[in-house]
């Protein structure tokens, strides 16, 4: 594989990412399953990079999950999105940063629909005014949270306590990057690096000392499927897709998987558990799974944040193999404790995976 070929593609697909003064749109899945990541994102931006980012208490879900499982009319989600633009406008911001990839996809889709069908925009203005009395301006810049970390990856690395290198051997760690489908597949120009060879996570991995693993099923969907997961009956579809990816990446022996979509991170983590329990198969070494992290968790580890502050204890597949490789010290006794170090029990260990 020729890296220079990919670099050419990356050059062609660079996008405008605002420098500061962000309005933050939170993610349902991340708040539930990766609360440490959203917290780390805000902390890194505010405390490490000195940026101004607004966290609005009045936000609701964007309803994207409901929309893609087809219980939310298009008019409804357009108006919910418009309400968030109204809140952004009210607070004086014009740069919209979105935490979830499904959100990013639907916001982008709605933006483009409004461009091509201005009557939809007018209809939405009318609905929002009627329902809430609010009016809105369109953001000048709309990006995903991973774009921001990508933009400041060198600045983050400059403050590093660790890098993506095997502390014992000095070899770069092999990292699989998985990009959420709705990040760049809908509008390739809205993703850094485009849809085929996205750079948003490769850029982070390489800047932080790691080696990117490219494997045949890299672009394959993780299998969320929205309604396929939300309802129990068809979850097999979801597992099957992730399993396909695991089988494809296994020969490359990756040390970790990084995702920029909340759903993907959750599924790549949880489905390894399911596959282990049903097929007795694990994809990491020694009965371990391959640790799956969000990019903020990875950034946080680079910056020396405590793994349990980042929320790694909420993952089903243990991250300790990665932490050990990176030479990060952590206290295993504090893994399942509360804010004051109080013990909170511990999850049962699965039979066939760590």
């Amino acid at each position: 594989m020729k890296r220079e070929g990919k670099q050419q593609v990356w050059k062609d697909y660079q996008k405008e990412i605002a420098d500061n003064d962000y309005y933050f749109q939170r993610s349902c899945i991340r708040q539930n399953f990766f609360p440490g990541s959203e917290y780390a994102f805000l902390k890194i931006l505010r405390e490490e990079l000195g940026k101004n980012i607004y966290d609005d208490a009045r936000q609701t879900t964007c309803t994207g999950i409901g929309y893609h499982s087809d219980i939310i009319p298009f008019e409804t989600i357009q108006t919910v999105v418009a309400r968030h633009f109204a809140l952004m406008t009210e607070k004086g911001f014009r740069n919209f940063v979105i935490s979830c990839v499904t959100s990013f996809g639907i916001y982008s889709e709605i933006f483009e629909t409004w461009k091509e069908f201005p009557e939809e925009l007018e209809k939405t203005r009318y609905y929002l005014k009627k329902a809430t009395g609010r009016e809105f301006e369109l953001p000048e810049n709309m990006t995903h949270a991973s774009d921001i970390i990508y933009k400041f990856r060198e600045e983050i690395f400059a403050k590093r306590k660790h890098s993506l290198v095997n502390a014992a051997t000095g070899e770069p760690l092999k990292i699989v990057e998985h990009i959420g489908c709705h990040y760049a597949k809908i509008f390739p120009r809205k993703g850094v690096g485009g849809a085929e060879f996205p750079q948003v996570l490769s850029g982070m991995i390489e800047s932080w000392g790691g080696e990117v693993v490219d494997y045949p099923e890299r672009r394959h969907c993780c299998g969320f499927g929205f309604r396929h997961y939300l309802v129990m009956a068809d979850r097999g579809y979801s597992v099957a897709n992730s399993r396909k990816k695991f089988e494809s990446m296994e020969p490359y022996k990756p040390d970790a998987i990084i995702c920029n979509c909340p759903g993907c991170t959750m599924f790549m983590d949880k489905w390894q558990y399911v596959i282990a329990e049903t097929d007795k198969k694990t994809y990491g070494a020694n009965g371990n799974g391959i640790p799956v992290l969000t990019y903020e968790e990875l950034a946080g580890l680079i910056l020396g944040y405590d793994p349990w502050d980042l929320g790694l204890q909420m993952h089903q597949v243990d991250s300790e193999p990665l932490l050990d490789k990176m030479g990060i010290s952590y206290d295993p006794d504090l893994k399942y404790t509360g804010s004051n170090g109080e013990k909170m029990g511990a999850p049962m260990q699965p039979q066939f995976i760590h």
């Binding site: 020729k2 070929g5 085929e196 099923e217």
Partner: protein
């Protein structure tokens, strides 16, 4: 004596120059390369009969020898202007030409396969274009994977950069299908053991002897045709390629490992043609090629007076069609010049 400048010494340009000089006009043929023949100079054997391309080049050289027209090689038109109703052309070497008519025979451009990123050209090791393959065939190179292994399974991919909104080219490039069939046959002769596949949407076998060659490819050369456009290619650990298409005739998605992938790249308006259009202020089609004044009855006229068109600068053509088209252009120019004097 009227002067005609012909721009481009490819198949069409040499034919137009030869005919016009035969009609008694003074012809100056301007060619940017050091050699004549344009794209023809790259080809090895031609469809549909697989005769050597060099035979056509030889006949062109004969025409030049026997003709009385001047060729300026290594020369480009760098400036175009109008004065008192006449075209003033300046070359890169500082020569100024004031012809009574111009024939644009600047040929076509090749689709840059890098733009079709999902096929991995210039990223994956064993992805080449039909032009790359033709070059290897011409040089007599052994057809091997980059790691030296003999390919056991080869896939030709049709419609690369054609019929594709995303590539920016809606049009069909006409000659890629027959090129694929021809090259598949040539590879069969070189690699008797390989499996050879063509992934197509439609097989455009419109020309004389094209359909017959397709049948021969199936019956005598064991080329397998799968009706499904390639969706994506990825690289395996052993540098073979994992390709995904749908076998649309059976309605099933299809995945396959191949050792070598050949992209049948399409024709588009070349950079030279685009620059000439800017200089002469010529209208271009939606496809990017030069727009003829009338698609049925004035195919050699451009939107500007005195500027005529020959060959693939207007649309994809075979070599035979380009020669026909160039002869027609010569007649139109000749009549134009005759009528100028009568007015």
């Amino acid at each position: 004596m009227d002067t005609v400048v012909v721009i481009g010494a490819g198949v069409a340009g040499v034919e137009a120059a030869s005919q016009l000089s035969g009609f008694g006009h003074e012809v100056i043929l301007v060619e940017k390369n050091s050699y004549i023949g344009g794209k023809l100079a790259k080809w090895d054997h031609l469809f549909p009969s697989l005769r050597p391309a060099s035979e056509i080049l030889t006949s062109m050289e004969e025409k030049i020898k026997q003709g009385s027209f001047k060729i300026l090689k290594n020369t480009e038109i760098t400036d175009i202007s109008r004065r008192n109703g006449r075209w003033i052309l300046k070359t890169g070497k500082g020569i100024s030409l004031e012809p009574d008519a111009v024939v644009i025979a600047s040929g076509f451009g090749l689709f840059d396969a890098k733009r079709k990123e999902e096929y991995g050209y210039n990223i994956y090791n064993n992805v080449i274009t039909s032009v790359d393959l033709e070059d290897k065939l011409k040089k007599g190179e052994k057809i091997r994977m980059t790691n030296g292994k003999t390919p056991r399974r080869i896939a030709f991919i049709h419609c690369v950069g054609s019929r594709d909104e995303k590539s920016g080219n809606h049009h069909c490039s006409k000659v890629c299908c027959i090129t694929g069939v021809k090259q598949a046959i040539e590879l069969r002769n070189l690699l008797p053991q390989a499996e050879i596949f063509c992934f197509y949407m439609d097989l455009r076998m419109y020309g004389k002897d094209f359909e017959e060659l397709y049948r021969e490819a199936q019956e005598n050369y064991d080329v397998q045709f799968i009706r499904g456009r390639l969706s994506e290619a990825s690289e395996n650990m052993d540098e073979s390629l994992l390709i995904k298409a749908e076998d649309t005739l059976s309605g099933r998605p299809l995945k396959m490992n191949v050792d070598l992938m050949i992209l049948l790249i399409g024709m588009e308006a070349g950079e030279d043609t685009i620059n000439l259009c800017k200089g002469f202020k010529l209208e271009r089609d939606r496809s990017g090629f030069i727009k003829p004044k009338d698609i049925h009855i004035m195919r050699n006229f451009s939107s500007q007076e005195g500027v005529f068109l020959a060959g693939t600068c207007t649309c994809p053509m075979t070599i035979g069609d380009s020669i026909d088209n160039a002869r027609a252009a010569a007649i139109e120019v000749h009549n134009y010049l005759k009528n100028k004097h009568l007015r």
